[in-house]
Symmetry: C2
Subunit: 205 residues, 2 copies
DNA sequence: AAGCGACTGGGACGATTGACCCAGTCCGAA
DNA sequence: TTCGGACTGGGTCAATCGTCCCAGTCGCTT
């Protein structure tokens, strides 16, 4: 064991790979580009990972776990449910605008996984993670606003993610902020319309 | 100009390239794979196209023009607007299920374009084409059902495309048909809720 | 029938890639 | 201080890529 960090070096390489993919896409994430970004030598790469594929596999798993979608889940107190949903979407959108290449990178990683036989199951986990984040927003928002959902929470979470994916892709294509806002308004309106007030007694406990 | 088809050979190569991308992704669409699929020799490729990039550029333009999204626009007569929207979504979904790799290919081509400086504007045209198809469905459906939209048609088209993109990505990830149906139901409900009946006089003329 | 030019086959080139290898270096344990 | 093993630098390899080239071939025109 000894020297610093068998795991630290792997983590450093993963971070570097993510930066390279942000900058140049999955296509540009060659072993040489990654070690250059990490300030290491090529030998270190194959000392840490058996192959590039293994690294990509771990990278996707890492991204899925550390769902940075958390920005979606900033629920302020005593807001009505429509505001909660709209704010969550706005937070996500601002993340997208401030770092569009990151969302592109996530999509590219997904499509790369779908094309790679032994990675084909990863997108399922990726979306399960997204749904979980959406569910957190919807549940905590509903609790804060004193409402409950008239549809199963899993279905609502999927609908919310469909909205974020759809508005992200269209925005990446034409960068129309105003149009994205319209979609977010529509999403907040229609989703919050499925909220029903909790009877005071239930709300209280 | 003589021999058969300066344009025909280009078209044949484009079709072959599309089949290769369907099968192996953009990454696998090498010049050699494409000419093999087309049953041609490598020299013919560079006789027809100056470079692979030029071919990809024309391929995307071709795909955007021949929007196969038309399947979305099968409007049956005397159906209420909710049914029209739901049927359009269902037609799209069945296209997706019967040919998932085609939708994957379109996404990959979009992301490839976004990463390629001189192709960066193509996704805008791609989505303009999608919006146009959605608009056709919404307008003809509204005319057939005798309703009009309470939101600008451009905004509604974008919302509809957000739904199709969102449900497509999630379905590609987990292949959950039932969940996709829920999203489509929600989309049809919420979009058709924005339809208002036309006064008989207007409807008649 | 001849010839011109559009077209093709097959090979080659340089660049890039993932992977490997080996001689060293550096650190901590003894 | 010595020594062993974890780690690295730099070079190399085969495979694959886009691109190019040139000697042919084939079909139309004349």
């Amino acid at each position: 064991m000894a020297r610093l960090s068998s795991d630290e070096r792997r983590a450093a390489l993963l971070q570097a790979a993510l930066r390279v993919i942000d900058r140049d896409g999955v296509h540009g994430a060659t072993t040489r580009a990654i070690v250059a970004e990490a300030g290491m030598s090529l030998a270190s790469f194959h000392y840490a990972f058996r192959s590039r594929d293994e690294m990509i596999r771990e990278l996707i798993a890492f991204v899925v776990e550390n769902e940075q979608q958390v920005s979606l889940a900033a629920v302020q107190a005593d807001a009505d449910i429509r505001t909660v949903v709209r704010s969550g979407l706005q937070a996500f959108f601002e993340l997208l605008v401030s770092n569009p290449t990151r969302e592109q990178a996530l999509f590219e990683l997904m499509h790369y996984s779908l094309r790679t036989p032994e990675l084909g199951e990863l997108p399922r986990a990726q979306y399960a993670s997204y749904f979980r984040a959406a569910r957190v927003l919807l549940e905590s928002g509903a609790a804060a606003a004193g409402v409950t959902w008239s549809l199963p929470i899993e279905e609502l979470a999927r609908i919310l993610i469909a909205f974020t994916d759809g508005l992200t892709l269209a925005w990446l294509a034409d960068r129309d902020d105003a149009a994205a806002a319209v979609v977010m308004d529509f999403a907040a309106d229609t989703i919050s319309a499925l909220a029903v007030p909790v009877r005071a007694k239930e709300h209280q406990r």
